[in-house]
Symmetry: C2
Subunit: 239 residues, 2 copies
């Protein structure tokens, strides 16, 4: 049996203008090779409705899987979700499950789920959500197209969420903890914990909010009991 | 008047497998933005004859310019030139002008212009050569498609060769000098010379051959008299 095939679609004017250097193509290429999925082509298109819709249609018909990156944030030029929905003739609106995920995330952060942020809960009918352990706003899978964020750390986490479901592996589970300390304060205890749980991956994602530093700690793995145990230790350390 | 449009096509299994991280897309994106050419899409395809031919045809019809990178070296899987020729229904064979450039380069280097290297003189009928000041083997322009090497330093030099001809600027002239010293020995005098000729760009490209280090020095600019003068000084310093 030959390997499943795949294409990648990067969406964003900032890549085509040279302002931003893409790193998601190289990351995905390596991840798919390890997963024995043949990446046959990659494309970069601009934030243009027809370019997105036409390319998604064409690639979806030609390959087993399509992975997209970019254009699912809160700003007016984040038009990927709407145009992927259009490619499949599906309605799209704010969906209750995605909204609940965002609401919980922003409640926890003490931030307002305003109209801009609510855009990130627009999900096509029938799509399955892709877990975003870093900044909550989910990606989604519709038919054979996996729609993910452009920010590299988030893209990489979403690939880790979705890839095991394609290769028949156990799905990746994740939990996160927000601590109000800078990354430098949490690095050493986190590294010690990572050594204790070699089957899990542990990441730290610093942020700055209202002038204060904080870090989101994310624990990921296929063994749910191990993830729970590690999270309990993390909470005891930093809770 | 709106800007001319462009697409880029990267050819190479090594990019799709994740073994190599492409840098030519980001370089070209920046260079085209500076040249006021709108880069509308980029694609990466594998070393597959139909993928190359079909993509070149499609992009050539859709955009003012198409820039390709990769697949014009001496090995059996370097099939870009043949398939670009096929896209335009043009015959292709070893061409006398390209062969002469390679012959001179390899004579100077004391290397044999063997059958593998001679593949790099295969140029479609009617194509114009693109100067390669670094390793001689030329790129070419056929209709609106500019076929260039994948090695980043060479790709970048070829872009510098071809871009002024598209924007109506004076063509870029280049001369090179091979010195049998390592790059570390030539860096300081070259930097001093670059300061003296601010309108020129000076590059050094180290190589190792038969266990000995050497460096190709390349002087580029639009002012031929300045290039000549700088080369004379270089020759006096290192000749």
């Amino acid at each position: 049996m030959s390997n499943p095939t795949a294409a990648m679609l990067v969406i964003g004017d900032e890549i085509l203008s040279g302002r931003t250097r893409d790193s998601n193509m190289h990351f995905l290429a390596g991840a798919l090779t390890k997963a024995a999925i043949d990446l046959r082509e990659m494309r970069v298109v601009s934030d243009d409705p027809d370019a997105i819709t036409d390319t998604v249609k064409g690639l979806s018909a030609a390959y087993t899987h399509v992975f997209t990156s970019g254009g699912i944030g809160p700003t007016h030029d984040d038009i990927t979700a709407d145009n992927v929905a259009r490619a499949f003739g599906r309605p799209i609106d704010v969906r209750a499950d995605a909204r609940a995920i965002l609401q919980e995330h922003y409640d926890r952060s003490g931030l307002d789920l305003n109209a801009a942020r609510l855009r990130m809960a627009r999900i096509p009918d029938g799509a399955a959500l892709i877990d975003n352990p870093i900044s909550a706003a989910p990606g989604f899978t519709i038919e054979n197209v996996h729609v993910m964020a452009g920010v590299p750390k988030i893209f990489e986490a979403m690939v880790a969420s979705v890839l095991p479901t394609l290769t028949g592996g156990a799905p990746m589970l994740s939990q996160s903890l927000t601590v109000h300390r800078g990354e430098g304060d949490v690095a050493a205890p986190l590294a010690a914990l990572a050594t204790k749980y070699p089957s899990l991956s542990m990441g730290s994602y610093p942020f700055q909010r209202d002038g204060a530093f904080g870090t989101n700690l994310v624990v990921r793995g296929q063994d749910g009991a191990a993830v729970d145990a590690a999270m309990a230790e993390l909470a005891a350390l930093f809770g």
